[in-house]
Symmetry: C2
Subunit: 138 residues, 2 copies
DNA sequence: GTAACTGCAAAATATTTGCATCCTT
DNA sequence: AAGGATGCAAATATTTTGCAGTTAC
């Protein structure tokens, strides 16, 4: 098991349970974003659906994972890389959705550009999603 | 009633029904995006929830409205301005979500900037959502 | 030992589907 | 008149909540 799993949980003052270990490891292994259903599928229903809901919620609250905006009504989560702390997400990178394999990938090295807003609008946070064909599918 | 309602429906070869007229008019009047629940609320449940689902789906298929990406799990729809046609959305503008009034507004004049993607990624379409405080809430 | 986490059951919501009826063209 | 749209009922799917039992520390 990835040693990071333990340190991440410890750092966030979460007790180390099987469910959390397995789900967190899944995120660490996954190149892209995961939906609730992906997690149920990957873990082979080894625990209750409710536990998955609660674990994801806990991880989001602690800033371990974050929601990813999507254009197709689905709810995706991905690891917060870098220095995310509870309440302060710095996941200011572009997300890429592949139209072929349908995966969502965090482009950690591509930061969201600033845009000039109309008068009176005060920006706080930006999200950007690019769709197209990914590295593996061409 | 806004004369556009009829022309938009006609242009998309949709029969003109009360539900479609009222829902489309709601979008035309609204400065921002609407969720399914907003529509039910605004129309005072004058028609079946199922009809709202089907109408929204039809509008999306025809390219009259489009999904807006959100970070908070909600599903929002907004009018496609400009030259949207079925299957070819040109709604390449930035969306703004206000943290105060919670409204989502289409910034039709702010276009989504291009970003440089890692090698191997071929972009097709971009979405951008900026959150902050809107014109009315400061 | 205690607080926190999980599983189960069940409630509350949300979404989809089939079909008979009604409306638009 | 014919095809499409709606309403209703019901089937599915999704998410939330309460509580008792279990586990981590």
């Amino acid at each position: 098991m990835d040693i990071n799993v333990l340190s991440i949980l410890k750092k966030n003052q979460l007790s180390v349970t099987d469910g959390r270990k397995i789900i967190l490891e899944l995120f660490l292994k996954s190149p892209g974003a995961l939906a609730h259903s992906d997690i149920e599928k990957e873990t082979g229903a080894s625990f209750d659906r409710v536990t998955v809901y609660r674990t994801l919620q806990t991880f989001v609250e602690k800033g371990i994972i974050h929601h990813i905006p999507t254009t197709d009504n689905s709810i995706l989560y991905a690891l917060c890389k870098q220095d995310c702390e509870a309440g302060h997400h710095h996941d200011n990178h572009v997300h890429f959705v592949c139209n072929e394999c349908n995966k969502t990938i965090c482009l950690d090295d591509v930061t969201v550009p600033d845009v000039k807003l109309p008068k009176g609008f005060k920006p706080d946070h930006s999200e950007m999603v690019v769709s197209g064909v990914c590295h593996d599918c061409r």
